[in-house]
Amino acid sequence: MGRKTFVILIITAAVLSASIIFSLSSGSYSLRLDEIIRTLIGRGNPLSNTIVMQLRLPRIFIAILVGASLSTAGCILQSILGNPLAEPGIIGMNSGAALAVVLLISSSSSAYYDSIGIYTMMLLPIASIAGSFLVTALIYVLSVKKGANPARLTLTGVGISAGINAFIALYQLTMSKGDYNRALTWISGSLWGSNWLFFGIIAPAAAVSIGFAMYNSKLLDVIRLGRETAVGLGVDVDKKQKSLLGIALVLSAASTAVAGNISFLGLMGPHIANRLVGPVHIRKIPVAAGISSVLILLADTASRTMFSPLEVPVGITVSILGVPYFIYLMLKEA
């Protein structure tokens, strides 16, 4: 590892730690650093214990997992599709997860998150992954003719996701007002109601998938050179593309299950990392994951404190940050 990469990794980790402390301390009840530390080492009072250990910490950990997962999914998709603007939200992978979760929330017709039964909660990521898988498989089948053409895959994804979003909107119209609000909050992407159980559900999936992506980083490097070059270098592109697509799918579905639809995170982290450490995946994936985690953590802290006691779904805050960056990218790429 080069010295520059090492320094950037250290800086990213430092910024992430600072963001964690900032997020732990801010909220409707703000905590000082010494109170946080006392609570973390088990000497806090009941109030700070609840705030830190039950409310803020699990939420922060989930935010980091979601940031890292979406960013890694973005890195994978951008490389296998050869499209710098690809990310789970844009190519339609999330829409299937969104549809499945909306159906599940409305069919279980109970209160959102905290009072839905543990089984429904366990079902959430499964439904989300299943929904995402079905839709991605549909997109893949529709776009395959003698091997998957990345451009066709992307366009089909955009089309299918528009259709599914229309279907979700239609479904929402028939919902009761309470269910509608719940579904809308979820679709906009929210970390509200995060708890350790959610963390326990997605942490293994995220860790294994990110590990797999890192393990295959050289393969991703070579596939990024395009199908023709990769085949020449001895890669069975069609087969590898499928398994990498599967990993991106698990990552995006796991995050969608706990945090709803959050766009742009899979785009911003990888792009900023690309500028900092270049396009080689073994360096890019971890730096991108760190940056996306910082972004979602800061966005979430802003979401829950700016209009307190009202909460803005974090997906909206991320989009407000992301849209200008996206447009900047478009202008620059063109």
Partner: protein
């Protein structure tokens, strides 16, 4: 010893329902520079795609050094044959050294880094292609000719007996075209690589090839040494042009000095 690296039997290849090549037999000689020429749509790129496994033939066999390619593992084959596509693309910010190091991919384990051997081969490839001074610069900051040499360094680092290139001189000006072709010829002469390429520019092909193959509608119209096959009759069949041909001043290769559309 077999004097052919690549043998093609009864090949049929198509895009969607369009048959481009129908029943082609061809042998590509070992340790020679072979160039495939022909007009647009004659099937030369399709042929290269079949050899490099980018396109699965409808029927027929393609053998590399006597064994059929569809029966061999991709990674194994990548140690025998390297392929440079027509306009390869690399992500922005990739350094020349990093690109060249990808040539070692077929030899690497997923998490294993570059070994000392690999490093030596990468450096040597950059030296031979004359880009070692740009090793730590981003590929996108290089000129077209330098960039193409970096790509050639990548396939060179693959350490294969056979190099396959699809129009390696496209988009390059005349001096860079000569530079690339001279380099490829050198690789053939000094390192005994079998070089196979598709080329558009007839005079370059006649000047640099040991073996020329003229392809029309998926069939071989002529093959042999440039001196033997570049003549008025063959060019009329291949391109539909009348040409005046002379030998160069040393008398080693033919030069077409003028062309007219055949009426």
């Amino acid at each position: 010893m077999n004097s052919y690296n690549i043998e093609i039997n009864d090949l049929q290849a198509s895009y969607e329902d369009n048959i481009i090549i129908d029943s082609l037999d061809l042998k590509i000689p070992k340790n020679k520079v072979t160039m495939i020429i022909g007009s647009n749509g004659c099937g030369k790129s399709t042929l290269l795609k079949c050899i490099s496994r980018l396109l699965i033939p409808d029927k027929g066999q393609i053998s590399i050094n006597g064994s059929e390619i569809k029966k061999r593992a991709s990674k194994e084959l990548a140690k025998t044959m390297a392929v440079l596509p027509q306009s390869p693309s690399a992500p922005g910010g990739l350094l020349v050294r990093e690109l060249v190091s990808y040539g070692r991919f077929p030899y690497q384990k997923p998490m294993g880094g570059l070994k000392k051997d690999d490093m030596e081969i990468i450096n040597r490839s950059m030296e031979v292609t004359g880009i070692i001074e740009y090793a730590d610069r981003p590929l996108d900051s290089l000129s077209g000719g330098q960039r193409q040499r970096a790509w050639i360094a990548m396939v060179l680092a693959q350490e294969t007996e056979i190099l396959i290139l699809d129009e390696p001189t496209t988009y390059l000006d005349i001096s860079h075209q000569l530079e690339i072709l001279t380099l490829l010829k050198e690789l053939n002469e000094k390192f005994n690589r079998t070089v196979v390429m598709v080329l558009h520019e007839l005079n370059n092909a006649a000047k640099f090839a040991d073996h020329l193959i003229g392809l029309k509608s998926g069939n071989v119209v002529f093959e042999g040494s440039p001196k033997a096959v570049v003549n008025c009759e063959n060019l009329r069949i291949l391109y539909g042009v009348n040409s005046s041909i002379q030998l160069d001043s040393t008398g080693t290769y033919p030069v077409c000095v003028d062309f007219q559309l055949a009426k």
